[in-house]
């Protein structure tokens, strides 16, 4: 899976919107093909018979923008059209070579924060590990 997109999809919404604002002037004219909320159906693999089945739908926000023949795309959980558009702007900037260093640095910072959050969660889970003895 593309890590940059995955990072942008989970990045803090306020920081993402703030950073994307700084890209707008340099990106110039862009076409907004889609900015909407909708549902993504999430299937799961049944481990007993190997069949994929639908667990249900997740509310998502989606943005699809274009500059020339380059696409910018954002999809994030929940109802936040500004955040999905901000993700699409960063994605487009990376493809179009706009402020690439800044974009890469922003994504690296966010990825680090997300990794720290995950590690913190996993340290708390590890505290509940059972080393079982039977008698």
């Amino acid at each position: 899976m593309a890590d940059t997109l995955g990072t942008l999809a989970r990045a803090d919404a306020t920081r993402l919107k703030g950073f994307a604002e700084t890209l707008i002037a340099d990106l110039g004219q862009i076409d907004v093909l889609q900015s909407r909320t909708g549902l993504v159906m999430l299937p799961m693999r049944d481990t007993a018979k190997g069949v994929a089945f639908h667990m249900g739908e997740v509310l998502m926000s989606e943005a699809h923008i274009r500059k020339g023949d380059l696409d910018g795309y954002g999809m994030r959980r929940g109802h936040d059209l500004e955040a999905s558009m901000a993700m699409a702007l960063v994605d487009l900037a990376l493809s179009a070579g706009v402020q690439v260093e800044n974009c890469t640095a922003f994504c690296a910072d966010e990825a680090k924060l997300l990794a720290e959050q995950d590690a913190d969660t996993l340290r708390r889970i590890e505290a509940t590990r059972v080393n079982m003895e039977t008698f």
């Binding site: 899976m1 593309a2 890590d3 997109l5 995955g6 999809a9 989970r10 909407r36 909320t37 909708g38 549902l39 993504v40 159906m41 999430l42 299937p43 799961m44 693999r45 049944d46 481990t47 007993a48 018979k49 190997g50 069949v51 994929a52 089945f53 639908h54 667990m55 249900g56 739908e57 997740v58 509310l59 998502m60 989606e62 699809h64 696409d71 795309y73 999809m75 994030r76 959980r77 929940g78 109802h79 994605d91 995950d118 590690a119 913190d120 969660t121 996993l122 340290r123 708390r124 889970i125 590890e126 505290a127 509940t128 590990r129 059972v130 080393n131 079982m132 039977t134």
Partner: protein
Amino acid sequence: MAYVATRGGERAIEQSERLFRSEMGAIDGARVQQVKESLPYLVDRVMGEASLYDEYLAALALAQTGGELYEAVLLLRAWRTTQPRLCVAAPVEQDRLFTHRRISAAFKDIPGGQVLGPTLDYAHRILATEVLQGETYEPAAVDPAETPTPAYHPGVSAWQAENDLVDLPEPDAVLGNDIPDLTREPLLFPSKRAHTLQSLARAETGGVLALGYAAMRGYGQAHPTVNELRLAEAEIEVKHPDGRSFSAGRVKVSQAEVVDKKGEKLGLGYAATFGWNEVKCIAAATLDLNSPGAEKGSPTEEEFFLYHTEGVESSGFCIHFKLPHYVTFQSSLDAMRDARAKKAAKPKPNVTEPAE
């Protein structure tokens, strides 16, 4: 069945709805936030039964209905019909679940070990009544371990297959819009496996527990042992227009595998749902384990448990009995009166008094 149209209730209906809502008062964003933060397991249960994942929408539905769960689920199921479907994500695989809780009652030394995660299983069930006396109940903080636990674990059933304890089929190749979908096609019997598991994922928790419990108590063919229970977060893997796959976020899911011996191998039952709701998953997996060969009309027979655990339909059918049934009921009364009149009109047999 016949109904009768009635008039004269318009004002009463309007006032009755106002009376219901007046108990909850005004609802604002702060209340929704409070419901979301303070009742995560209830929010999870509602999202699972609605088969719609968004904590804010679920919290709003709970706030708006005052916690009337059937109404909350109905609101969410109705709302989802207003939204377009953007795509179908890639299937979530068990070994890619960001796992918070993973236990097995079948084997103590499962690969990856057992982590209890968040649970009240071993807690003393003591009501914190001091809160009602003005004190604050402050739960003790977790002492985190030095090193993080691995986020991903192999499946117990995969390990059992390696040890020739279970037969696992190759993963089915059906993906995307080709996966059978109950929200777009009817449930027919014998049910497709994808329909069965989707229906159980959306099922009403209490209904699944009642029927699963019946199977556990002996009204079934197989006794469940929890092979593996997981509470986890699943990635929503979607595609960029240029074809790259990426995770668009995570959602909480629960999954349970139960086993029973079947000849020389183990038989597996499986269930999963949105949110963290392990009772529902264990009970649903028990029904799945018991359904092959179940007697028609028994609680473990597929048609029986899938129809009777669909919460929106069952609660809707139940409450429809409150609607005016004046015609059918009057017809029953007429039949009773007729029978009584006929009995009264019948000449009494000549009964001779016994001689004194």
